[in-house]
């Protein structure tokens, strides 16, 4: 094992143990624990977005939508489990996610042999297949659920809940990933800003659907705009840290592989990358799906922090938060994202509330944009700039975001 790896893992273990000890001995009260958990969740979303925007150059504002999908999916599964020990939501979601995932992989393989399939046709094909499979999964899941519920009930209470929670978070991530794959197929063919706007549209559509989840969607337990309650509060420092650590390592290893170099090459110059034989559409899709997978996982974790979900949390205005975090931390910097998400959660949730004198809480959002403006004006490349932990540093020299030459602009036409 390399020394940097050893240092990184040792440092991570040390941080985990110290924080866990502080929580166990009651040095950190619930308020700060909550901030830590939120910060980890933001860090996961931020890493996903950094993969999409920082490393692959696709301007996505849709991560918050996938986060919302993940949160509600995972929340729904554990909600039913805690309510009446029924695993039907778990089984349906699990089967749907597995079937659709398998079908998507299979179809991709088949479609890759046919040349000249346009994105929209592929999208239609996938959509038909996925709808069909979800329908089957619902039937099959309901049939299987009594057996699985019985099996899970044999386990001790705490353990079965943890298992259901873990599966729910994974399902949430996969669901977000599959939806992002479908959505990304046609939309990733759009140019950069247009892609951003279309993904912003996704966030808004998801929010509208969640606002009306009890009337427009068949999920009365989500209670629409009144907010969903009754989700068990399972996420703790262990789960948050474990997911964060695994995702950091996954992102790091991905970026160190040939996949990562291909992803970065797409950001640097699409035409040159194409000339080198890199399948641009594939890598755009790959990074988008992975980023959304992380957003879904983060959503699943978030749902179980407070046990309460409200559509306003997934407002499109908040979809800028991950973008703000990664730009503050420095685009294309994993360490920056980690640092910035913890700093951001602490500033916004904790520090401003604690530091600002009593009665001036309304100034919170006056101070926050001012800080943001100052950071942007003084350090346009982000707080951390290009500082990276040795373990996370890339083999390639750090790739700077292109100093944008003044592009030819769209014309103001009569």
């Amino acid at each position: 094992m390399q020394r940097t790896t050893l240092f990184f893992l040792g440092g991570a273990a040390l941080i985990f143990v110290i924080v866990q000890a502080m929580i166990s001995f009651g040095l950190l009260n619930d308020f700060y624990v909550n901030i830590l958990l939120l910060a980890s969740v933001y860090a996961i979303v931020g890493l996903g977005l950094n993969l999409i925007y920082g490393f692959n150059g696709q301007f996505s504002l849709g991560q918050w939508g996938f986060y919302a999908i993940g949160a509600y999916a995972a929340g729904d599964i554990t909600y039913w489990w805690t309510l009446d020990k029924s695993a039907h939501a778990l089984m349906i979601a699990l089967l749907a996610v597995l079937f659709c995932g398998a079908a998507i992989l299979l179809l991709r393989k088949l479609l890759s042999r046919v040349r000249g399939v346009d994105a929209l046709s592929a999208f239609t094909l996938y959509l038909v297949v996925v709808i069909f499979l979800v329908f089957i999964a619902i039937q099959l899941g309901q049939a299987l659920s009594p057996a699985v519920s019985g099996l899970l009930s044999l386990l001790p209470d705490g353990l079965s809940l943890q298992i259901v929670f873990f599966l729910a978070v994974l399902i949430a991530g996969l669901m977000a990933a599959e939806i992002s794959f479908l959505f990304g197929l046609p939309v990733l063919t759009l140019g950069s800003d247009y892609f951003g706007i279309a993904t912003l549209g996704l966030t808004i559509i998801v929010k509208v659907l969640l606002d009306n989840s009890d009337t427009l969607l068949p999920f009365p337990e989500m209670k629409g705009a009144r907010g969903m309650v009754g989700i068990p509060e399972v996420t703790n420092w262990f789960w948050a840290f474990a997911f964060l650590l695994v995702i950091v390592i996954v992102v790091r290893n991905l970026l160190h592989s040939s996949y990562g170099r291909a992803i970065i090459s797409v950001r640097e110059d699409e035409i040159a990358a194409k000339a080198m034989g890199i399948d641009i559409a594939h890598y755009k899709n790959l990074s988008f799906v992975l980023g959304s997978l992380f957003a879904g996982l983060a959503g699943g974790l978030y749902a179980h922090i407070n046990g309460f979900l409200h559509p306003n949390t997934f407002n499109f205005i908040k979809s800028f938060d991950p973008m703000i975090i990664i730009v503050m931390g420095g685009l294309g910097s994993i360490t920056g994202t980690l640092g910035a998400s913890f700093a951001w959660a602490f500033i916004l949730e904790g520090l401003l509330r604690v530091i600002l004198p009593q009665g001036t809480e309304t100034w919170r959002f006056v101070v926050y944009p001012l800080i943001l403006l100052l950071i942007m004006l003084l350090r346009p490349k982000g707080l951390m700039g290009e500082i990276e932990l040795p373990f996370l540093r890339q083999v390639l020299p750090p790739l700077k975001p292109k100093a944008q030459p003044e592009e030819t602009q769209a014309e103001v036409k009569p």
């Binding site: 479609l111 042999r113 046919v114 040349r115 000249g116 399939v117 346009d118 994105a119 929209l120 046709s121 592929a122 239609t124 094909l125 959509l127 046609p186 939309v187 063919t189 759009l190 140019g191 800003d193 247009y194 706007i197 279309a198 996704l202 808004i204 559509i205 509208v208 659907l209 009306n212 427009l216 205005i317 800028f320 973008m323 703000i324 730009v327 503050m328 685009l331 309304t362 100034w363 959002f365 006056v366 944009p369 943001l372 403006l373 942007m376 004006l377 346009p380 490349k381 292109k402 100093a403 944008q404 030459p405 592009e407 030819t408 602009q409 769209a410 014309e411 103001v412 036409k413 009569p414």
Partner: protein, 375 residues
Amino acid sequence: MTPNGTLNSKDTLFIQSLRKGWLGKIFLILIGLAALWKLGVSLADNPVLFLQQVINGLQLGFVYALIALGYTMVYGIVRLINFAHGDVFMVGAFVGFYTIARFQFHTWPERLFPGLPQWLVLGVGTVTVVLISMAICALLAFTIERVAYKPLRNAPRISALITAIGVSFFLEYFGALQFVFTPNFVTFERPFSVQNWQINNLGIQALPSGQSPADNSIIISNIALIIVLASILLLLLLQFIVQGTRVGKAMRAVAYDKQTARLMGINVDGIISITFAIGAALAGAAGILYATAFPQVYFVMGIIPGLKAFVAAVLGGIGSIPGAVVGALIMGQAEVLSAAYISTPMRDAVAFSILVIVLLVRPTGIFGEPEREKA
């Protein structure tokens, strides 16, 4: 399919349809037909209601058009999605509220020259209020541009975008402070009273307030007329500025190529500031018109109309002025019709679905030009 993965002429119909992209086209056509069918059924079902909705949509669409122009002009020149624009619109509405409700500014001709006819007083007074709002918004946008955006002209575009979001937050929550605007909903006082007319098979009659209209009649209010007329007037004015003046010529030149424009002796920074100011002035006027139609102002009122207007600008082809107007009219209709015939909460979703579908068919919007290769 041959083993090595190439295609031959013996492809099945299914493979053929995939290769030529028919499947996607069929999908789009089906969606379009479904929408048309729905509209047609609604029209046949109750043409009067349908027309009424179209008129409401027109009123909304023109307000969106005024906001969308600011987005499209700024994007055309500096390639910045100016998220603070919607909040400039909010400031415009609040300025209108203060000048009318607090300072009674809309009656100044009467106070200065007592005995003037009422319609002249209100007309001149209202125009003054709108002009004040436009001027303050223009000044605000000018300041924002100088303080926040100009230092970032050569930074990555994302920095400017985040700055725009920061400015937007600042305007909203600074406005929400008790002593600035207020965190509450405020009722906007119209400078003039509402007058409705009903149109039915008997012709046009004035509808006294409080009286319910006759069956099968379309109602047009003076507010709708004023909004449509004022918007068209402002649009023509903008058209004149962009097409007929030296400043407009410089704006077009800067939008086309900043470097060359600078070489030709154009003050690029000045032109960019002017563009921001003109866009903001239109947004300020839109703020008052919007508040007149929906008489309630509050500190986050700019977000949703701003977003809708931005979508409209993208829909029409961002950077194109007629595109923004057309896109805004489409957005207005889409919003009102989907609220009437599908479901009210779904109107945002419908608007964005239309955007995504249009972008899939024409990736640069209805009037947008295909992106040129980098020079």
